[in-house]
Every structure is written in structure tokens, then in C-alpha cells.
């Protein structure tokens, strides 16, 4: 079974978000980039399924410029077999989805996994676009994934519950917890990652359909109003009369 796992390169979870003075771009200065946390579920589950099957390959794919390579190497250190980087700035979800679909089509992958969304842009879009471009089913967001031959059984989260879905390969799934326990690279992984193949390819086309014109920070909070614990009940009156939320 050939797994393709898409990873994105995002600011570390704890990053304080700031923008360039014209508010047109995210300010990367001093920011540490990590593999998107949701993508780690996809990556680890693909590696686990490969191990269970005792055969197959896990390829990681990133659409990004050269500065994403440390995180691609990290994915290789966690256990992916090889990697592809599409050498382009990921302009928008549609652009990224086109690159992924093109690689997936040429590579004949059976299972395409990615995280539910990236924690920078929070799009939750790429999975469906890739599925539609390839004409194959998408299951999003998936909380569980098991394979038996060419058939996958997934749990998909829906509001108020979950659906158990069976699809045949090829398919796309976007992953979230509690799918697996994401792995961290060990020393051996880090050593072998250096010699694993990382192929760089140029993008196909440059079509995008959205354009960010400006970023904004949310308005600053007024500061907390503290109510003494002894008169906790007063809080409820404030919530009704002042905040008007109950």
C-alpha cells in the first residue's frame, strides 16, 4: 500500500502572532516552525498501518519553499520512507490542493492522508479539493482509520456524533485525534533521515482563487473583572445585567 501524507509547515503552537507593519504578511522573524500538529496524526497513522501490513511505503509531501526542509526531515526521522517538496509558496488552499492532486495522480498512491486543517490558516479545505480533483472519496475529519486489504474503515466526526464509513482505495482522509499517539523522532530515525530521498519538484500552474489583503489582531480585552469568591452569586447577576449573555 502506498501512503501519501501531506504536511504543512506552521508557526509553533505557542507563537505570539504578529504581522509586518503593513499588515500584509505574517511576521516570521524569530518564529519557530513545526509540522502542523494535526498532520502528525496522519503521519503516525500511515506509519503504523505500514508496519501492521509489513509492506508498503509512506511518502511525505510538502508544498513549500526550501525553508520547510528541516520539518520534512523530521517527518522522515519519524518514519516516512521518502519525501517530495513542491517548490512553491503555498498561496491558498486551491493552489496547494492542485499540487497534491498532481503528485498523487502521477505517483499512484492508494491512501492520501493529511491533518484536519493547518493551525495557521485554519482552512479545513484541502482534503475535499484534492478528493474532488482526483474524483475519489474524502472522509473528513477522521478520528479512526483501519485498513483491511483495499478497504478502509473510518470514523468520521459529525456534529453530535460519528459516522462509521467504509471506503475503498484510493481515498483521501483528513485526520484528527484520537486517531493515534503522534510519534517523536528517535536517534536512529534522525540518523537515517539524513540519507532518505527528498525530491524537489516545480509546481504545476499557479492558479489560486483567494487573496489575503490584510491581517488583523483581535481587539484587546478590557481586562478581567474579579468577583470575590464569597459573593460568587454576584457573577450571575453581572452575566445577566451587564454582559447580557444569560
Amino acid at each position: 500500500m502506498k501512503f501519501l501524507v501531506c504536511i504543512s509547515n506552521v508557526p509553533d503552537t505557542t507563537t505570539k502572532i504578529t504581522f509586518t507593519p503593513d499588515n500584509k504578511e505574517f511576521n516570521k522573524a524569530g518564529v519557530q516552525f513545526v509540522i502542523n500538529p494535526w498532520d502528525e496524526y496522519a503521519l503516525t497513522r500511515a506509519i503504523e498501518l505500514k508496519e501492521v501490513q509489513g509492506s508498503g511505503t509512506v511518502t511525505v509531501l510538502n508544498v513549500g519553499e526550501a525553508d520547510t526542509e528541516p520539518n520534512i526531515r523530521k517527518a522522515l526521522a519519524i518514519g516516512a520512507d521518502d519525501a517530495i517538496r513542491v517548490n512553491a509558496y503555498p498561496k491558498d488552499a486551491f493552489f496547494v490542493a492542485q499540487q497534491i492532486a498532481s503528485i498523487a495522480k502521477d505517483g499512484g498512491y492508494d491512501v492520501i492522508l493529511m491533518g484536519k486543517e493547518s493551525i495557521d490558516y485554519n482552512g479545513f479545505q484541502v482534503h475535499g479539493m484534492v478528493g474532488e480533483l482526483l474524483g475519489i472519496p474524502t472522509v473528513a475529519p477522521a478520528m479512526k482509520l483501519d485498513m483491511s486489504g483495499n478497504t478502509a474503515t473510518l470514523e468520521r466526526e459529525i456534529e453530535g456524533g460519528k459516522e462509521i464509513v467504509e471506503v475503498n482505495t484510493p481515498f483521501v482522509a483528513s485526520c484528527q485525534q484520537p486517531m493515534c499517539e503522534p510519534r517523536i523522532p528517535n536517534m536512529r530515525g534522525i540518523m537515517t533521515a539524513r540519507t532518505k530521498p527528498l525530491k524537489v519538484v516545480e509546481p504545476t500552474g499557479d492558479a489560486s482563487r483567494t487573496q489575503v489583503t490584510e491581517y488583523q489582531l483581535p481587539p484587546k480585552k478590557q481586562g478581567v473583572k474579579l468577583i470575590p469568591a464569597e459573593s460568587a452569586g454576584d457573577l450571575i447577576k453581572l452575566l445577566r445585567n451587564e454582559a447580557k449573555v444569560i
Binding site: 472522509v139 478520528m143 462509521i164 483581535p218 460568587a232
Partner: protein
């Protein structure tokens, strides 16, 4: 040219988030000088669909095919695309839900449309440039996005638009068929498992949430959270470590790696307010924090706070709500 609104229904009723979406869609239609039609998915009653007139919808299309009761990505996508073609829809509006994002992203390719998810405000249409504001960086920022495509799809974040209500107006309900075949149901669910909802309120839909963290000490103490939630008509939630150790089910975990919520009221009990937790709740309108540690980071994000022991404070709050009602 029209605006098409995708309305999700459950057990005969239109979901609250879909009422917001319907309002949003009718306001977009006004902005563009056209009308808003809805297409309904899920299990809907004719009466509840007709009531969408109160949100400004003129017509509702409904396919009564029984297999559409549960979410099926392939079939929903085809149905909505067919409705969009029939109505010549230039703008589609749906909820930023798991269903909305799943079909919205497929539709964006099928209809060659620009897609914006997580949208928090009505669009601006300046000289033909169509701009929406969306949440980004896990609630830490917003982005203004121009939708450059001919067609636009907007997924509206829950609780960011107030559902309008003009009593007594009715929409006409028309039966609609997208000629679905077995192939379209290839990803139909084998089974649907519904969660136990405290008080029947779904966390992603809730406009009030009472949430507990490790400070609650153990699952046996959750009665305190449930009592307050019940009195307020709120859903219950928890922090990640709480669901990791199985004090509470995973579907209650909010935050970076859990559910994102944006209720009007979020009450955090014994939660430190780590940045990953805040990522899932910081767009709540009013945040209340109860923590015995005055230095807990959550107080910085809070509107109201009580420095105190949850075991002492929670019963007092529940009592006060009961007295109010």
C-alpha cells in the same frame, strides 16, 4: 443569479447554526440585489423549512430521498451542486461545520468557486471586489480575503452572526431531485453513533459552555459542572488532559487539537488557560474563569473571574442561576 444557502437539519429541525447561515445568506442577497434560496440536507420537516422565511429565505429546495438523512459527502455534494446550477447561484453560503467544510471544499472544485471558511462577518462588495473576514492562526488573528473567483462559497463560523427573525414569514418548500444513484452513496455511513449530550445540547452548536479542567480533580466531581450547565442550558466541555485520561469523552475536548467553540459564554473551571486550550475558545464572546491560582494565565483572556476553589464556587453559581430563573 441568486444566493444559495445550505441548511443542515436534524430530527426534523433546522440547526441553529443553519438559521444563522440563512440570515447571512439573505443579507448577502440583499447586498447583491437578489434573492436567497435554500437547499436543505438531513432530516427536515416541511414546517421547519417553511419557517426559514423568517430568516429571509424565499424558497427551499428539499430532496426527500431517505438515504440523505445522514451525512453522505458524495451525495450531498452532487445535490447542492445541482441546486446551485438550477438557481444559477453565484454565492453559496454554508455553516463552518464538519458537513459544511466537507462539501464546501468539494463544491469549490466542482463549481470552480473561491472558498472561504471560518468567516465571521458579512462580506463587503466594493467595486466588484468581494471581501470576507475570516478567523486565522487558531483564533489569534483575522484575515481579510478577496474571493477572486466568479462564484464564491462562504462557510460561516457559528455564533458569529445573529440569526434574524421576522415572525410569520414563510418560505415556499419545493421538492427537488438531484437524480442521485447508488454511486453517489459510495461513502454512505455503515453506522451512525450519536453521542450522549448532557441536556441534549451539542457542544459545537452551544451558545453557552461550562468547561472543566484538571482542577476538577476527577470524573466523580463532574456533577458540579453538569449542574451549572443544566441550570444555564449550556453544553459541557473539558481540557485535553481531562479527555486524555478518560474523565470525559473525546468529543468534549476543546482547544487547538480538539473542538473550536465560539459561544456567547464560556465558563472555565479549574483550567489553567494554556495557549493550546485558548486556541479553541478565545473567540467566545464572554469568558469567565474560576481558578484558585490568581496567576493562572486564563485570567488574562477572561472578562470575569473568580479566584477561588471550584468546589466551593460552582455550587454557589448554580444556586444563583436557579434563583434567577
Amino acid at each position: 443569479m441568486s444566493v444559495l444557502v445550505v441548511v443542515e437539519c436534524d430530527k426534523g429541525e433546522v440547526k441553529k447554526s443553519s438559521l444563522e447561515v440563512a440570515s447571512y445568506g439573505s443579507q448577502v442577497a440583499q447586498l447583491l440585489g437578489t434573492t436567497a434560496t435554500a437547499v436543505a440536507v438531513g432530516e427536515a420537516s416541511e414546517a421547519s423549512l417553511a419557517q426559514l422565511g423568517e430568516q429571509g429565505i424565499s424558497k427551499v429546495l428539499y430532496d426527500a430521498e431517505p438515504r440523505l438523512k445522514d451525512f453522505v459527502n458524495g451525495a450531498y455534494t452532487k445535490l447542492i451542486a445541482a441546486a446551485a446550477q438550477q438557481e444559477d447561484a453565484k454565492v453559496l453560503v454554508l455553516a463552518n461545520s464538519n458537513v459544511g467544510a466537507s462539501v464546501g471544499s468539494r463544491l469549490a472544485v466542482r463549481l470552480q468557486a473561491s472558498l472561504a471558511t471560518n468567516v465571521v462577518e458579512l462580506p463587503k462588495n466594493d467595486g466588484g471586489q468581494f471581501t470576507v473576514k475570516r478567523g486565522a492562526f487558531s483564533g489569534k488573528a483575522f484575515a481579510e480575503v478577496v474571493l477572486t473567483g466568479d462564484r464564491k462559497i462562504i462557510a460561516v463560523k457559528k455564533n458569529s452572526i445573529e440569526a434574524q427573525h421576522e415572525a410569520g414569514k414563510n418560505a415556499t418548500v419545493e421538492s427537488f431531485s438531484a437524480q442521485l444513484s447508488d454511486v453517489d452513496f459510495a461513502d454512505a455511513p455503515k453506522q451512525v453513533v450519536l453521542q450522549d449530550q448532557a441536556g441534549g445540547i451539542l457542544l459545537p452548536e452551544a451558545d453557552k459552555v461550562v468547561s472543566g479542567g484538571r482542577g476538577m480533580k476527577g470524573p466523580e466531581n463532574w456533577g458540579l459542572i453538569e449542574d451549572l450547565a443544566k441550570a444555564l442550558g449550556a453544553a459541557t466541555a473539558c481540557s485535553k488532559p481531562v479527555s486524555d485520561v478518560d474523565w470525559r469523552p473525546h468529543h468534549e475536548h476543546v482547544g487547538q487539537t480538539g473542538i473550536t467553540v465560539s459561544p456567547n459564554l464560556y465558563i472555565a473551571c479549574g483550567i489553567s488557560g494554556a495557549i493550546q486550550h485558548l486556541a479553541g475558545v478565545n473567540s467566545s464572546k464572554v469568558i469567565v474563569v474560576i481558578n484558585k491560582d490568581p496567576e493562572a494565565p486564563f485570567f488574562k483572556a477572561a472578562d470575569y473571574g473568580i479566584v477561588g476553589d471550584v468546589f466551593d464556587v460552582l455550587p454557589k453559581l448554580t444556586q444563583a442561576v436557579k434563583e434567577l430563573n
